[in-house]
């Protein structure tokens, strides 16, 4: 097991790995809802492939969380048998898909966040997280290429498409506060070089988002205070519905395997 454990409390690292893994897991599950329903076959393929990459990230991160925790829980047990309050994802990723434009806005916000976070985490003092980050970031670049490409087309498109994505941006923007709200756990990880400072990630994220919004002729909404709870395990009601669908099989047929 990685040498970081000598320095970072295992329980803290466990919770941090859950934050990262749950973000990928819940967003992957959300995107999966589009399969068979996207506006065109190409978008079906695009969203499904991004979902697949996200589930892949979640598998590695939750497996690692289980090892760090040291209670013998594997990826499936962690993904499918926890309760609502044990998920530590930011609540932006559990927001409903809405129309295609809203899904794209959410995706751009998260893709850019993951890109800036994982580019920096590729040099983490935690070897395992560094490896997962370096692997993930290559794929995340393609996710952002896809999502930002669509945001530009929709924002700089028709009057209707522009109005829809601008409105989705207003709706989702307040939830981005949580991505960068630093708490004790984030500070501990940054102090030990396990994760980058969220303030550094935020500066880079805002710069990237501003470039994309400018190209898309969209206006960045004003920041305003927003209470956040997902990273502490308090969620919107949406997560309950996601879990009901996601966990149904494992809870009905415990231990079911492919």
């Amino acid at each position: 097991m990685s040498a970081t454990l000598d320095r970072v409390d295992a329980q803290a690292l466990f919770r941090y790995a859950l934050r990262l893994g749950d973000l990928s897991l819940v967003l992957g599950q959300r995107l999966g809802e589009w399969v068979g329903h996207a506006p065109a076959l190409e978008e079906d393929l695009g969203l499904a492939n991004i979902a697949l990459d996200l589930i892949g990230q979640a598998r590695l991160l939750l497996t690692y969380a289980g090892e760090v925790e040291g209670r013998g829980r594997g990826e499936d047990e962690i993904a499918f048998l926890r309760e609502h309050g044990e998920y530590l994802n930011a609540i932006l990723v559990e927001q409903p898909n809405g129309d295609f434009g809203q899904t794209i806005v959410r995706q751009v916000l998260i893709d850019a966040f993951q890109l800036e976070l994982y580019e920096r985490m590729a040099t983490s003092t935690d070897e395992r997280l560094a490896a997962i980050a370096a692997k993930s970031v290559k794929e995340i670049r393609y996710h952002l290429r896809y999502s930002s490409g669509w945001l530009v087309r929709l924002g700089d498109g028709t009057e209707d498409s522009h109005a829809r994505v601008q409105s989705a941006l207003e709706t989702l923007w307040p939830y981005t506060v949580e991505l960068f709200a630093e708490d004790e756990l984030d500070r501990t990880m940054a102090d030990h070089g396990v994760a980058p400072r969220l303030s550094d990630v935020q500066v880079a994220w805002v710069r990237r988002i501003d470039e994309i919004l400018a190209e898309a002729t969209l206006k960045r909404p004003r920041d305003r205070p927003h209470s956040w709870h997902g990273k502490r395990g308090q969620h919107s009601e949406h997560l309950g519905y996601i879990l009901a669908e996601m966990q149904h099989l494992q809870r009905t047929y415990p231990g079911a395997r492919w």
Binding site: E42, L45, G46, A48, N49, I50, L52, D53, L54, I55, G56, Q57, R59, L60, E127, A130, A131, I132, A134, K135, S136, K138, E139, R141, Y142, L144, R145, Y146, S148, G149
Partner: protein, 165 residues
């Protein structure tokens, strides 16, 4: 069995394992085998890199590798997943690129290190059928995560492009 003989048996077994999505292309051509070496206890360790993080073919490939090694009779072995350094399309061999072309898939056109900022970067990809460079990308993701879907404006045929990663 001497160790050279064992290694060459193992490598030829691995060369016989085809990619489930692109038959004719072996996993050695794809650069997925990172190492084949006996450990101190005599167990042969085979390091296997996943291509894409969530690629469903990864599990299939792993099982095929285990089956091929068993059939080749290389003795005790273990297949380990090598995450770092992350697999790159730069590792596809010259033979692998040739086979991709024969299969009608355009191999990666750039080195992966040049793809750090791919947000709006686009390079014409020549059509594998008529060689025209008047082509367009119609989908960033194709039938598998590793490929994008393109279309040739010259001969009007669609084709797949293996992305740089």
């Amino acid at each position: 069995m001497n160790s050279d003989r064992r290694l060459s048996l193992a490598w030829s077994a691995l060369e016989s394992v085809e990619d489930p999505e692109i038959p004719t292309l072996s996993i050695v051509d794809l650069g997925l085998i990172r190492s084949v070496k006996p450990q101190s206890d005599g167990v042969l360790e085979v390091g296997l890199s996943p291509t894409y993080i969530g690629c469903p073919a990864t599990e299939v490939i792993r099982r095929s590798v285990e089956g091929a090694l068993r059939n080749a009779g290389v003795g005790a072995f273990v297949v380990t997943s090598v995450l770092s350094p992350a697999w790159s399309s730069d590792w596809i061999t010259a033979e692998g690129r040739r086979k991709l072309e024969i299969y009608g898939i355009v191999p990666p056109q750039q080195s992966a290190s040049s793809m750090r900022d791919i947000l709006r970067q686009d390079r014409p990809v020549a059509c594998p059928r008529c060689q025209s460079t008047d082509t367009e990308c119609i989908s960033e993701f194709g039938s598998t995560p590793c490929k994008a879907l393109h279309r040739c404006r010259g001969c009007l045929e669609p084709f797949e492009y293996f992305k740089c990663i």
